[in-house]
Symmetry: C2
Subunit: 206 residues, 2 copies
């Protein structure tokens, strides 16, 4: 498969949300124009995004919502569930561990880890915070495929190294650190401080 840009994958993920909402409303078909409006893009972009993956829809008939939903879920790898560990059970980690949205979308949190004795043993929505001392062994034993990192910046690289060592190839990092990973590992970062600073810049320079 040819390399697909992150921005395309991001739009597919958004299209999927609107398709699901339309399906809940009982709709059967949708035009590329409607999908474009929902996604804040153009019909041409929608058709281009989808054509990378196959032939969907009939000219003048729109797309079958059911068919397109199944196809996009398949493309995004959501046809099966993923096993996720969360490292760091502070405010952000704990909020994520208890976030029902994960489960609903097929991301099963199978373990939560922390190195702080005050947090180890805490119950979070059916999971118990485990000691990060045995992280590598536990990640393997839990057969986790993704890791969410919610530890302080100065601990983040070492935690990332350890989950990578344990065989994890997909990481979502909430720390404010700059993290290096091997080329075989996909790292996504969500940095609230950076986003706020982009807003601060925008307000200052508008």
């Amino acid at each position: 498969m040819k390399r697909i840009a992150d921005s395309t994958v991001r739009r597919l993920s958004l299209y999927l949300r609107f398709l699901e909402a339309f399906e809940r409303e009982g709709r059967a078909t949708i035009s590329s124009g409607e999908l474009a409006t929902s996604g804040g893009t153009t019909s041409a972009q929608v058709r281009k995004d989808l054509s990378s993956f196959g032939s969907f829809g009939k000219r003048g008939m729109g797309y079958s919502i059911r068919e397109l939903t199944v196809a996009i879920r398949e493309i995004l790898g959501l046809a099966h569930d993923w096993r996720v560990v969360i490292v760091g059970a502070g405010k952000i980690g704990a909020a994520l561990a208890q976030y029902a949205g994960f489960r609903d979308r097929g991301f099963h949190v199978v373990g939560v880890f922390d190195s702080d004795p005050r947090r180890i043993g805490l119950a979070l929505d059916g999971l118990t915070v485990a000691d990060a001392a045995t992280l590598e062994a536990d990640v393997r034993q839990l057969q986790a495929e993704m890791a969410v990192i919610a530890v302080p910046a100065d601990a983040a690289q070492s935690v990332v190294d350890r989950v990578v060592m344990a065989g994890i190839h997909a990481i979502l990092d909430f720390s404010t650190a700059s993290i290096a990973v091997p080329p075989t590992v996909t790292l996504r970062t969500m940095n609230v401080a950076v986003e706020l600073e982009i807003l601060s810049f925008a307000l200052t320079n508008r």
Copy 2:
């Protein structure tokens, strides 16, 4: 000032983090190469990013960490504090309201709102969750400049419309909705579900 790309602003925000860490270690100067390594980029990119804003550093001498820190904080609009409201006091909103990292970076959470009677009145780190019914008036009275939206997807657009009506021009949205704002408003989105789906795609197609 000419239009600066988001990616440049994002890197400035990262450089600032490393400069602050170096300053804490007692360093006085830094080369563009060191800054590039920390930021996962090249010396040429660092020089280009900084040259958009003025003349920093001397050839062969590196940058003065103190001077560059002050300059970047100024560029990003961090020389003064910002007043932030959080709308939605569920797990994510509550975690954000109590996140010390906000205050440390000059983002003061001055109000937290929710429409759920079970949440209104809850104490969150010195703030009390207020009734979102009077959001517009309260946002004005609090002189808030930024809003963080952490409400369910189906409520997000209406909440965004209300804070915009109340004079907010900078919004960080954690909902999974696709939000429209007027061109005078800067909207940044942090969507955990989309990031996880990008990881799912990467694992599926590697």
